[in-house]
């Protein structure tokens, strides 16, 4: 096998590399024994130490040095570009469903294209294009969605017929195809050479590269990286970058305080053949056949073909295992189904001679997105790993974003979907990772439909009411390990099984959620919202108030018992978090944030709160069960249970009070909902959860109470134009841009984070505006449903993308939320977006290539809903008898 890999690498220009690092490592080139001495000793200190000489490590080094950080040391335990990077298939593909990944791949492609010219190292770059095939209509829809987002980014891309496919690639059997997507600018590279070219350029810029140097662990003091211990001595450093690929998890756990990097390796197989009789042209496009689970590219006159099987083989679960590494053998029986798919796609290859089956482990993450960013526990500890087998496509862009993050404090794009802090310790169990990646790897080829839930690694965090709700027909989804109810299937109602429920059209739960929404509007519903992150911040003096006043944009110096909705903004005024804060007493605050903020928000506050032992912050998420009572009758249920008047005069909106509910005392009741409907959230110490739930359900019976799930909530909040952090809001969105000036107190008498940026925006205007769209000519039963990420067109021109969407049962229309930009027609420069600009346009939303007329609105339909409620209240007498 070793000989084979040498051939694979035959075109690597070791000796053409830059003399500087060639000198440092030249004596190690000739043989592969490990006993030679290291001629150049490690520096005693450096600003940055990067661990890993694959595509990620070299890309980070390249970009850091380009941005002016030259005191960088890159350490590689073996040789440069020798790990997964060496065996990588070398396909640079921009066809990615997640927008930030698409941007990274697009940048990578542009970078690799000019890399050979820049460095003199041959990268094997060849613009072949790629064709993604669709065997089903659903697959074609998903390709069309990707094509839409590629097109608005200016990346050429077209949906083509099977006939056109044959013209582009004569070997393909098209009998089972319904269409395809052609991306002419996708490319092939020799991934090892790209990595070497990046290393060469970095080295020229001053980055020191040391091969055959293993990092044993990273030292952290007072929450900051201080240095790196290697088998060749210690290097003091301010920044450490973990680009150790499939070993990143282990390296993260090697230090005294673990940095949790949830990824896990799986075996990945691809096939190499001898050249065809008439060797394949090196410009022939790469074929991706997701329904057959395979990709096929030309390779030295023959083909290279691999895939993502349904039954992956995870490995290294117990850590680095020398035996396993050496036993990575070809497994033909395992590859069989992929070989069948290959021969079905290209029957003419039957007589082609096999050269080798390569087994090349790839690392996968729990949500199929890569991992980048800074550790929440060790400042200066950065990570870039877990590429889910798209390392070469992401390498350039990912390295750039991470370098920006380190140098500027934040990347130039919203990378929250990839941020390490979206995970906590809970995703770091080896068993969880092993099970989850076995689901993730096949998913790479599976159809990605809206509202898809992972099936493995479930029931980790649950509310104490889980069994009760489950017994009543709850269907579950998971967020940050927490089980949340989607909706309740009424008895006798059967939904489709998981596989058959995948659809881009109207889902089978449509009427079920509709009736939950109706109940929220007309009577009262209970939703278990225990997953939300809950912190308590308190102090002995005024420290808590003072710190929070600085960290949050709204005024928190409110009377005790009041609740404030506020953003937690960064310097640029962007939302790092969007939360509700209740003032429990003069000196203590109760803060509720989205579920997936548990790690990020904690780290953000920890890093910014003064180091004062009189100021404490506690994560109390696990201590409380949260029940949300939504609907006009919530007030009646609660007042009967507590013998306390709950009407607006006694319990105004945005109010918080500890009271008794049933027998249970000390229930924290807040008059807020996350949907705009009237209602309350009850924060119940978990031991009382079942009691309070039972009481609420019993008492609520005469008011028509029922359980509801998050889908109903979602429909309600979107039709009310409520933005959610993580979906609509991110670190690049300010309150000014989403119509939330009212939640900012610019004049609260003291400075707060992001104030300057907001003042500037207030003066100069905003460059994007959160807008609500009501689809006009969209047929809910027949047309494709919007999801998120659909391009928005104004007067025929692209102005932005949607961020969320839902069917409004009240309007009986689809509602999309999204951001409108104003690009100059000639220069493409971003201009200020005014209210007039929004109001004076004709809008269309592009769903998988089909455009639907939409009406834009900047404010919710408040009047419409109140009117309806009046009317419904009158009809309620009939409802009660049901």
């Amino acid at each position: 096998a070793a000989g084979m890999f040498l051939r694979l690498l035959s075109d690597i220009q070791w000796r053409a590399a830059h003399p500087k690092w060639r000198r440092m490592t030249s004596s190690q080139r000739s043989t592969s024994t490990t006993t030679e001495s290291h001629p150049v000793s490690l520096p005693a200190q450096a600003q940055v130490v990067i661990c890993g000489g694959g595509i990620m490590g070299t890309s980070v080094a390249y970009h850091l040095s380009k941005m002016g950080w030259k005191d960088v040391v890159l350490l590689e335990q073996g040789r440069l570009a020798a790990g997964t990077t060496r065996f990588c298939a070398g396909i640079v593909s921009t066809a990615r469903p997640v927008s930030i990944e698409l941007k990274m791949a697009h940048y990578s492609n542009k970078l690799y294209q000019q890399l050979e010219q820049e460095t003199g190292v041959q990268t094997g770059y060849m613009k072949t294009g790629s064709i993604s095939l669709a065997q089903t209509q659903d697959r074609l829809i998903s390709l069309k969605r990707i094509a839409s987002s590629l097109n608005v980014m200016g990346i050429p891309c077209e949906i083509i017929s099977p006939k056109k496919v044959v013209q582009l690639h004569p070997l393909i059997n098209i009998h089972d195809l319904v269409g395809a997507m052609y991306v002419p600018e996708d490319a092939l590279v020799s991934s090892a050479n790209v990595s070497l070219a990046l290393a060469t350029a970095a080295s020229r810029n001053g980055v020191q590269i040391h091969e055959r140097t293993s990092v044993s662990h990273v030292t952290v003091q007072k929450g900051r990286v201080t240095g790196v211990e290697t088998d060749r001595g210690r290097i003091q450093c301010e920044y450490f970058v973990n680009c150790a690929g499939q070993w990143a998890y282990e390296l993260g756990h090697s230090g005294e305080e673990a940095v949790h990097i949830p990824l896990h390796a799986c075996e990945h197989f691809y096939l190499l053949t001898h050249p065809l009789k008439e060797p394949l042209s090196s410009s022939l496009p790469t074929i991706v056949d997701p329904d057959g689970r395979i990709y096929i590219r030309n390779w030295q006159g023959g083909i290279l073909s691999g895939g993502f099987e349904k039954n992956p083989k995870p490995l290294f679960t117990e850590g680095r295992n020398q035996l396993e590494i050496q036993n990575l053998q070809e497994d033909w029986d395992h590859f069989g189904p992929l070989l069948s798919a290959l021969l079905r796609r290209m029957p003419g290859l039957e007589a082609l001679q096999i050269m080798q089956l390569v087994n090349c482990p790839e690392s996968f993450t729990p949500d199929m997105r890569c991992i980048m960013g800074e550790s929440p526990t060790a400042r200066g500890y950065f990570v870039l790993a877990g590429m889910n087998s798209a390392g070469i496509s992401y390498g350039g862009g990912a390295g750039k974003y991470l370098a920006e993050w380190m140098v500027n404090g934040y990347p130039s794009e919203n990378v929250w979907p990839l941020d390490l802090k979206r995970f906590g310790t809970l995703q770091s169990s080896r068993t969880f990772l092993r099970h989850r990646v076995m689901e993730v790897m096949p998913l790479i080829c599976d159809l990605k439909v809206p509202r898809w839930d992972f099936q493995t690694g479930r029931q980790l965090r649950t509310s104490p009411l889980y069994d009760r709700l489950d017994a009543q027909g709850a269907r579950w989804m998971e967020k940050h390990g927490f089980e949340r109810v989607k909706y309740f299937v009424p008895p006798g109602n059967d939904l489709l099984d998981l596989d058959h429920s995948k659809t881009f059209y109207k889902p089978d739960w449509f009427d079920i959620v509709g009736s939950e929404v109706k109940c929220c509007k007309e009577a009262v519903c209970v939703i278990d919202m225990s997953s939300f992150t809950k912190f308590e911040i308190s102090s002995t003096g005024d420290q808590a108030l003072e710190s929070l006043q600085y960290l949050f944009s709204n005024d928190l110096d409110v009377p005790v018992g009041h609740v404030v909705h506020t953003g937690m903004l960064n310097e640029k005024g962007g939302y790092e978090n969007d939360c509700s804060i209740a003032r429990l007493s003069k000196r203590s605050f109760f803060m509720i944030s989205p579920t997936d903020q548990q790690v990020h928000c904690w780290a953000w506050l920890k890093n910014r709160l003064p180091d004062d032992s009189n100021l404490t912050m506690e994560d109390v998420t696990w201590k409380y069960t949260a029940l949300n009572l939504i609907g006009p009758r919530a007030v009646d249920v609660l007042s009967e249970l507590s013998y306390a008047p709950m009407t607006a005069e006694h319990f105004p909106s945005l109010f918080c009070k500890e009271m008794s509910v049933g027998y249970a005392n000390g229930i924290r009741v807040m008059s807020i909902t996350h949907t705009g409907e009237p209602g309350f959230v009850l924060y119940i110490p978990i031991e009382y959860a079942l009691h309070v739930y039972n009481e609420v359900m019993n008492m609520g019976q005469k008011y028509g109470i029922r359980n509801a799930g998050y889908y109903a909530l979602r429909s309600l909040r979107i039709e009310k134009f409520f933005a959610f952090w993580g979906q609509d809001l991110d670190a690049f969105t300010t309150p000014m841009e989403c119509g939330r000036e009212f939640q900012v107190k610019l004049e609260k008498g003291m400075q707060f984070l992001g104030q300057e940026a907001l003042l500037e925006q207030k003066q100069n205007g905003v460059y994007k505006r959160f807008t609500m769209f009501i689809l006009e000519d969209h047929d809910t039963d027949m047309d494709l449903w919007p999801w998120w990420g659909e391009p928005i067109f104004r007067n025929g021109r692209y102005v932005g993308k949607t961020t969320s969407s839902a069917y409004s049962y009240t309007l009986e229309r689809h509602v999309c939320l999204g951001f409108v930009h104003h690009f100059d027609e000639k220069t493409g420069e971003e201009l200020v977006v005014t209210t007039d600009f929004i109001n004076q346009g004709e809008y269309e939303i592009d769903i998988a290539g089909q455009r639907f007329q939409a009406k834009a609105k900047l404010y919710p339909f408040s009047s419409l809903f109140t009117q309806r409620r009046r009317k419904d209240e009158m009809e309620l007498s009939g409802y009660q008898r049901e």
Binding site: E330, D331, W332, G336, L339, I354
Partner: protein, 454 residues
């Protein structure tokens, strides 16, 4: 009437049993990986029996199949008792003394055998005291005899077989005050059973056979193909040596009447067997025992009937023929089976089917392309074939079940035909015996690595 594949499977698997030798018991590594066994009845109730046990006071493992005739009583008794007789015969003098002293002083007895039994393999509770007393008498005699020599396995097997048959005969002559037991010992003695027993200790394999069950060794040749080696001789009319032996033991005047229609005295198929006192006792003894026996025995035409030309008993013996074989790495498995299997399948086919099953399950070698010239099409064909093979053996987790499936369901092409299988298994009780016999199979798998290391 048609049986679905799951119904067929549930019939075939009802009696299957598997035992895996623990990989490393802390003392010694066994030359046996484990065994699979199964039975398919044709008679109701089934007349075949099987036994398997590990010797705890000596090394080695015992496995046996027993084919009863004229009822199942004898086969049942032999399946319960024979291994104790063998184990006792193998015990050194000191151990025998120790056991006897323990019994004498009412202390706990050293366990002699660890049984590996299917839940359907029962032991008679009522007779256990009687059986134990006979066994104790045997070891007391062995203690008195103390030859001082180390025990030879061959001799031990022969002695055990003969002694047990003798005890069966004696118990029937003496009778028992308990009427149930009295009837039981008579039924045991008047019915018969063949026995084919293997004793495996390291590379030493002994087969002791009495009757027409058979032991067969599965050998993998260098080219991977399978061949069968017989480790027993059938004791029946087809065996010239047996016919000659019987004729030698009786006056020339009986030569013509000894073997008629391929049967002993024109009646019995096996030429050696346990029990069957009708072929062993004198006419006087038979008459006396039957007359003083319970009414049920008197009413039975078969027991009362004296074989024709019955002049110089005994005509039948339980003495086994013992074959010793030193196991080699290429010896992969041993099949012990009653004649129900051998009537329907040639041993060569048995060797191939079991061999392919075992290698398919455990030893399907990974394919490596190496330096060979292989095309994608060839590889695809190869993989498809391998998958098909795996899915066909996947149905059975038990080699004995797999063999029964073939024995009953094979069509003219040597592949299992579901329709045929369904028909054969849905035959009504009274018809089943005409189309097939009881089948009992034990497949013992050897550990080639251990054997190679000897």
């Amino acid at each position: 009437f048609y049986l679905t594949p799951p119904q067929v499977n549930s019939i075939l698997k009802a009696n299957e049993y598997s035992f895996k030798v623990p990989e490393f018991d802390g003392k010694n590594v066994s030359s046996i990986l484990g065994f699979d066994s199964n039975q398919l009845p044709a008679n109701a109730p089934i007349e075949d029996r099987r036994s398997a046990a590990t010797c705890l006071q000596t090394r080695g493992m015992l496995l046996g199949v027993f084919d009863g005739h004229a009822g199942c009583a004898c086969a049942q008794a032999v399946s319960e008792r024979l291994f104790y007789y063998i184990a006792v015969s193998l015990l050194p003098h000191e151990t025998l003394l120790e056991i006897e002293n323990a019994v004498e002083s009412g202390r706990a007895l050293l366990p002699i055998l660890q049984w590996h039994k299917h839940p359907n393999d029962y032991f008679s509770k009522e007779a256990s005291k009687l059986y134990f007393n006979s066994l104790r008498t045997y070891w007391q005699e062995l203690i008195d005899l103390n030859s001082g020599e180390t025990t030879d396995v061959r001799e031990a097997l022969i002695n055990a077989f003969k002694r047990l048959d003798n005890d069966i005969s004696l118990e029937a002559q003496v009778g028992d005050p308990n009427s149930f037991l009295n009837y039981l010992v008579l039924r045991v003695a008047f019915s018969g059973a063949t026995a084919c027993v293997a004793h495996v200790d390291g590379v030493d394999l002994h087969i002791a056979n009495t009757g027409d069950s058979r032991a067969m060794l599965g050998v993998q040749e260098e080219d991977g193909s399978w061949s069968a080696v017989n480790l027993s001789y059938d004791h029946n009319a087809q065996n010239e040596h047996e016919v000659k032996r019987v004729k030698m033991e009786h006056p020339k005047s009986e030569e013509k009447s000894l073997v008629k229609q391929d049967r002993l005295l024109g009646l019995l198929m096996p030429f050696r067997a346990f029990g069957d006192v009708k072929f062993k006792w004198s006419i006087e003894l038979q008459k006396r025992v039957i007359e003083s026996g319970p009414d049920q025995l008197n009413d039975n035409e078969y027991t009362k009937f004296i074989p024709p030309n019955y002049h110089t008993p005994p005509y039948l013996t339980a003495e086994p023929e013992v074959i010793h074989h030193k196991l080699r790495p290429q010896d992969k498995f041993l099949v012990l089976a009653t004649d129900g299997l051998w009537e329907t399948m040639h041993r060569q086919d048995v060797a191939r089917i079991v061999g392919e099953y075992l290698t398919g399950v455990h030893h399907q070698q990974p394919i490596a392309v190496g330096g060979y010239k292989v095309t994608l099409g060839q590889m695809h064909g190869l993989l498809t074939e391998r998958r098909a093979r795996i899915s066909s053996v996947f149905e059975d987790q038990n080699a004995a079940t797999h063999l029964i499936r073939h024995a009953v369901g094979n069509n003219e092409f040597g592949t299992v035909d579901h329709e045929r299988l369904s028909k054969m298994l849905s035959l009504p009780e009274e018809l089943a015996r005409m189309y097939r016999d009881d089948i009992t199979i034990i497949v013992v798998q050897f550990n080639s690595h251990v054997i190679g290391a000897y």
